[in-house]
């Protein structure tokens, strides 16, 4: 069984922070609306590797009452701790296909370039000015 990097209380803290930092907009879902967000928070925190103890510490120092003003103050007073928490929640959020799709970013496997694309790019003479100038040592 895999050991989770964060306990339930820490996950709840991150969920609350994400609710403030990443609301939805016209196209993009709110972090709290992503069904898989808890799983993504675990995955994000595990990916921090040697930074994980720093995340535990940052969460210990987080204010008890979390709202916009509390996070503004935290970001000013403890910028490194805030940055790590912000990276973790936004890193988890942008693992979600729905969040990536909303900004037009690809998800899933990639594909090879179209066969003729490189030749097409050069076919219009884009290199001609370079060749005409030559190169002086």
């Amino acid at each position: 069984m895999t050991t989770l990097a964060l306990d339930e209380r820490e996950i709840e803290q991150l969920r609350t922070v994400a609710g403030v930092l990443i609301p939805g907009d016209r196209d993009a879902p709110a972090a709290m609306d992503l069904l898989e967000f808890d799983d993504l928070l675990h995955r994000a925190s595990s990916a921090l590797g040697p930074d994980l103890p720093a995340l535990h510490e940052a969460l210990r120092r987080l204010p008890t009452e979390i709202d916009t003003w509390a996070l503004v103050a935290f970001s000013t007073g403890e910028p490194a701790h805030f940055a790590l928490i912000g990276t973790t929640v936004s890193g988890a959020y942008f693992m979600a296909p729905a969040a990536l799709t909303a900004i037009g970013y690809p998800t899933g496997p990639r594909s090879a370039a179209p066969f003729d694309l490189a030749a097409d790019e050069l076919a219009g003479g884009i290199l001609e000015p370079v060749l005409e100038r030559g190169f002086d040592d």
């Binding site: 403030v20 590797g49 040697p50 990276t87 973790t88 037009g104 884009i126 290199l127």
Partner: protein
């Protein structure tokens, strides 16, 4: 201590130069053993295809070995370093994480004493290396466009990768500026080739290719080397090179993962452990030489060059699809490569344009914005710049200086208890002026291409560690001769970037590999004459 065996050729380090040497000599019938302190990696190990890719690159897959936290790496004292060396201990060496930007030195790079009156000329010329460049290119499937007017004519074996919208937009801007550029040449075959897969443009080449499509030397060379009979032991950390009573190298002592010591005997020893690792090993191998092995010149570890790399990142309103690789270089420019003293410094830089993939990486560019613009609905607006950013890097031609050097730290040790290297590297005034000039011009390039925002990034950790065992004809002013043979120890060779007399400004791996091939051929050809190798 257990004695394993005796071999014709012992190679320390399995990166580009070590693998080329192993393949070349094993193919000619020599018994070859390579010792590598790192491990084998598989393309499925790499982070680039995983959803948490950007988080993994913060530490576990950072290019800085200090942040990776792996015992196979040796620590370094970098208290006096203006830029951190980037390394990766693995079969294939740092090429596992290199960008595969495949560049030859220009002919002038071999003779800047003659051209500019500074530093020293190399004891070899472009023409000496050209056939070996060609041979390596063909072996690993270099992709690009022949005919760059900045170079003597040479063919590239594979057609180029597309530049994509990112590259075309910048190329058009460079044409408007009247500046040199050329489609990127990359050690990434443009179609499946030998043991390498098809590039699917993940754009994450510098963290290991998830598709196995990049010519890192674990897959581009080692399968061929082992088929030819070369053997490789991973997880083998070499503690020192040993000498016989005549002062000739006769093998090495190495330490396995459990701390067990072994000895392997060899008729010839080849060092291929990069500009830090090779000089560290020479300095540790001092049984008969108080200043380290092969160091009668006193130059082992000195003249370290690292190509400080200044980035300028452009963020565009245009939908560039900048998640598409390779990265790799989409294009490069040598416009500001050669010396123009009107700029206030010697030499110049090579530029390369790369995609700037990821969402967090783009968001981080805006970390200085007020909270309400960086977070909340502001985050969604900023995140739409993902896929619309590119980065131009300037690879600076730093010059050799004896004060930039590798020594042994008196206190710090690796996990085997061996002395760690202490690396001192400070920017000269010439380098600072070069960095400033190139950064300003790169900003102009992005602006000409229509960037909405341009950011100057911090100096990037450098995987180019060069010059610490320079080659030359005079034993008083060089460590090895023009074939990488130690002036002091005739059966000891160095084939990595340590031998470079000057660093040039292009990515050095093509030159390192070509030099290794030339040296390996020389070892084979002279084996019977010199008894350097008794096959």
């Amino acid at each position: 201590m257990s004695s394993v065996e005796n071999v014709d050729v012992l190679i320390v380090g399995s990166g580009p130069s070590g693998s080329v040497t192993a393949h070349t000599l094993a193919s000619q019938g020599f018994s070859v053993l390579c010792l590598e302190q790192g491990e084998w990696f598989d393309s499925s190990d790499f982070p680039g295809g995983k959803p948490e890719y950007e988080l993994l690159t913060r530490q576990l897959w950072d290019t800085d070995p200090h942040l990776q936290g792996r015992l196979r790496d040796y620590p370094m004292n970098l208290d006096e370093c203006d830029v951190a060396p980037a390394m990766f201990s693995a079969v294939g060496g740092s090429s596992v994480l290199f960008g595969a930007q495949w560049m030859r030195l220009r002919p002038t790079d071999f003779r800047i004493r003659s051209v500019d009156g500074i530093a020293d000329d190399w004891p070899i010329s472009y023409e000496d290396l050209a056939p070996f460049y060609d041979e390596i290119d063909a072996q690993i499937g270099v992709a690009g466009v022949s005919g760059d007017p900045a170079y003597p004519d040479h063919d590239l074996p594979m057609p180029p990768h597309p530049m994509g919208r990112t590259g075309v937009q910048m190329a058009e801007a460079m044409n408007r500026l009247g500046w040199h550029w050329w489609p990127g040449s990359n050690a990434i075959p443009s179609s499946a080739f030998k043991h390498m897969g098809q590039c699917v443009r993940w754009g994450v080449c510098e963290r290991g290719c998830p598709a196995g499509a990049k010519a890192s030397f674990d897959i581009a060379y080692w399968p061929h080397a082992t088929k030819a009979g070369a053997r490789l032991i991973a997880g083998a950390r070499v503690a020192r090179i040993t000498l016989d009573s005549r002062g000739r190298a006769n093998g090495a002592i190495w330490i396995d993962r459990e701390g067990g010591e072994h000895f392997v005997g060899a008729n010839t020893v080849v060092l291929a452990a990069n500009g830090v690792g090779t000089s560290r090993l020479l300095l540790m191998s001092d049984d008969q030489h108080s200043d380290g092995l092969a160091n009668s010149s006193g130059l082992v570890g000195k003249n370290l060059m690292m190509h400080p790399n200044a980035p300028a990142i452009g963020v565009y309103d245009d939908a560039l699809q900048a998640w598409n690789g390779p990265a790799g270089q989409l294009l490069y420019s040598l416009e500001f490569y050669e010396t123009d003293l009107a700029r206030g410094f010697y030499r110049g830089a090579k530029w390369n344009l790369m995609p700037y993939p990821g969402v967090l990486s783009v968001l981080n560019l805006f970390d200085d914005l007020p909270f309400e613009q960086r977070w909340g609905t502001g985050l969604h607006q900023l995140s739409r710049y993902a896929g619309r950013a590119s980065v131009m890097y300037a690879n600076i031609d730093d010059l050799p200086e004896e004060t930039n050097r590798v020594t042994l730290d008196p206190e710090l040790t690796d996990s085997s208890g061996l002395p760690a290297p202490r690396v001192r590297y400070r920017f000269s005034e010439n380098t600072r002026r070069n960095l400033k000039f190139q950064s300003d011009r790169m900003v102009e390039a992005h602006e000409a291409a229509g960037a909405a925002h341009v950011f100057r990034g911090p100096i990037y950790p450098s995987g180019h560690v060069l010059g610490t065992a320079r080659m030359g004809n005079d034993p008083a002013t060089s460590v090895v001769d023009s074939y990488g043979r130690s002036h002091d120890v005739p059966n000891l060779f160095i084939v990595d970037g340590s031998v470079m007399v000057t660093g040039a400004a292009v990515n050095p791996t093509a030159t390192i590999a070509a030099f290794a091939l030339r040296t390996a051929r020389h070892i084979a050809e002279t084996a019977n004459q010199s008894a350097a190798v008794t096959a």
